[in-house]
């Protein structure tokens, strides 16, 4: 742990607390306009999808770091299969399991 780490995580904690407490604490001082409340609904899917992209298309998985590169990166394929698992089950557990096993399988098939 470094001071930089503490600084970043501490600030992230303060930001999170600020957002969670925004109206519980500040309800007497301000209200949000309706158009902003509508826009806020779209923030989670937009941010989550944007976050997924770099971790799927950039960097090497632990498998590659340990056993070397393969022709086709297994991560995008594993993510697509995990998405299918989610649509089929609507549950987190099977989605994660499918994604991880697909990653291993697609890598192993190319060895």
């Amino acid at each position: 742990m470094t001071l930089d780490f503490l600084f970043v995580v501490g600030l992230a904690g303060i930001v999170t607390l600020g957002l969670k407490s925004s109206f519980i604490e500040g309800q007497t001082y301000f209200t949000l306009p309706p158009w902003l409340i509508t826009a806020l609904e779209f923030v989670p899917p937009a941010v989550l999808c944007s976050l997924i992209v770099p971790s799927i298309f950039k960097g090497d998985s632990g498998l590659v770091q340990e056993f070397g590169q393969v022709a086709v990166d297994p991560k995008p394929i594993a993510a697509i299969l995990a998405a299918f698992a989610f649509f089929a089950t609507k549950r987190t557990g099977p989605t994660l399991v499918t994604g991880m096993f697909s990653l291993y399988l697609v890598y192993w098939l190319q060895l």
């Binding site: 992230a12 999170t16 109206f23 944007s50 976050l51 971790s55 998985s61 632990g62």
Partner: protein
């Protein structure tokens, strides 16, 4: 609250051990849980720190992921308006995806006084918070003995994928997700993780545009 608890166990464990897979210590991993108590934002913070993103990108991302709490906060606030400042602060810290819908539903169903409302909120939150801390700690310790080739860091995008897919309730949400993904992909090589920010902004804009203009 009890039906929610089994569901947060795997997510808590994943949130605890993925920072370890990225090279952080168990204390680093646990501090995120303690300071933030917000799983997706915790994971994003560690992922972006690992990618050496600037602090502004990290804080913007945390803000964006946690914006839903503003909606929860706005809707639960009238029920806690008469509580003292310390209780309100604790209630803010403990606000979660699980406690919000339960309290929102039951505050409207039952005619409780302030003390009962606070006790109901506190009971569920303490239970959830304790389980979350225990799961993230368990995950962090497990992460220290799991070998690199298990590629457990891949659990982060998979977890985000699951959370993202859960939010796609309408066509406008799907438009948001697709446009955010595409813009983020096009901006993959931009510096300072700008692709992420542009993806998020464009996703929201396209979603709102679809809902207001096209539909």
């Amino acid at each position: 609250m009890l039906p929610f608890l089994p569901g947060i166990v795997p997510f808590g464990i994943v949130t605890g051990f993925t920072p370890i897979a990225l090279g952080f210590t168990w204390i680093d991993s646990w501090l995120g849980s303690l300071f933030m108590f917000a799983g997706a934002a915790q994971l994003a913070t560690y992922q972006l720190m690992n990618e050496h993103a600037s602090i502004w990108v990290i804080l913007l991302t945390v803000t964006a992921i946690n914006l839903r709490y503003v909606l929860y906060s706005a809707s639960i606030a009238p029920h806690l308006a008469d509580a003292n400042r310390f209780i309100r602060l604790l209630a803010g810290y403990g606000l979660s995806d699980q406690i919000y819908p339960i309290c929102y539903r039951d505050y409207q169903t039952y005619e409780w006084g302030l003390e009962e409302r606070i006790a109901y909120y506190a009971g569920g939150t303490v239970l959830l918070w304790g389980l979350w801390q225990a799961c993230t700690l368990a995950g962090a310790f497990a992460g220290q003995i799991i070998p690199v080739f298990w590629s457990l860091e891949f659990m982060i995008p998979l977890t985000f994928l699951t959370l993202a897919l859960q939010t796609l309730k309408t066509m406008a949400h799907r438009v948001t997700a697709i446009s955010g993904t595409l813009v983020s992909f096009v901006g993959l090589d931009l510096p300072y993780s700008l692709g992420l920010i542009l993806g998020a902004i464009s996703g929201v804009c396209f979603g709102v545009l679809y809902q207001r203009v096209i539909r």
